[in-house]
Symmetry: C2
Subunit: 141 residues, 2 copies
DNA sequence: TCAACAGTTTAGAATTATTCTAAAGAGACT
DNA sequence: AGTCTCTTTAGAATAATTCTAAACTGTTGA
């Protein structure tokens, strides 16, 4: 017998949290469900908080900030730095790249095969490469 | 007869400003001299302001911010977004890429031939590519 | 089952980088 | 020199984010 979608989503979220070593609290569960429900998303803390409030989820902005950082640390999210005034979080943690349009403040995944970055440079002494961020800045015309 | 270095630097700065369509005021001249005196640099507004003050240049922090943005608009600087808490400005406006070490908050140019980015993706409809930012995140080991 | 502990949430204050404001100052052109 | 416009400035204002300390809640083990 099939369970209701709601329940399944909840269980998925809970499992995800447990695997990440995070205690599955009500808030974290709800936020996880919002974040990972459909496709990949690019959100700021304010955006996620607004969405949660709109859906009747009771959670404070401080918790949204905490949670986003915890999720990022746990590898569930990627923090994308493109705008000097805001932090975006990406639910797609696979290696991929972004378009960023300053005019409209929009951040989107680059579809299809990723840009190939050839010949990675040798990192400064004492360091190793963690990851390579590629942001293609675009402008309306 | 040779002019003193100081004077030459001042005149170079003034020229640079005029060419950029910026009125060469005392503050802008002094900041330009600090920014462009040796090699390429990566600075925040706070850093430049501290440097100016240390050298006895009387300039307010607000002016440093204004100036950095004006220089950026004029193409004399590049704003590099790597840290969600701070804005860096790069005196190297040529097409190049960066190493960023979060551990020590250091931003450096990638030396030698730049990373080749093959097969630029088609930008979203209604937009054109402005530039491609590549940041190689490194970590101490 | 429930007490107790450690981890979590919260409102609101605090912090930090940055921008704004409006008044005083200074290039530039006549 | 005079005037006009652009620039600078101190300090206030703003916006995103972090901190604080008190209340709350999963979890664990008796």
């Amino acid at each position: 017998m099939r369970k209701k979608l709601r329940e399944t989503a909840h269980e998925t979220a809970t499992m995800r949290l447990r695997q990440a070593g995070l205690r599955p609290t009500r808030q974290r569960n709800e936020l996880a469900k919002l974040l990972f429900r459909d496709g990949h998303r690019h959100l700021t803390a304010e955006m996620l908080h607004a969405e949660a409030v709109a859906e009747g989820v009771k959670v404070s902005l401080a918790t949204v900030y905490n949670t986003l950082h915890q999720f990022t640390q746990a590898g569930l999210l990627l923090q994308v730095v493109v705008d000097p005034t805001r932090s975006y979080f990406d639910t797609n943690t696979a290696d991929h790249q972004h378009f960023y349009c300053e005019d409209e403040n929009s951040l989107t995944d680059i579809p299809g095969p990723e840009i190939s970055v050839a010949d990675l440079p040798t990192p400064p002494p004492g360091t190793e490469i963690k990851r390579v961020d590629v942001v293609v800045h675009v402008r309306r015309h």
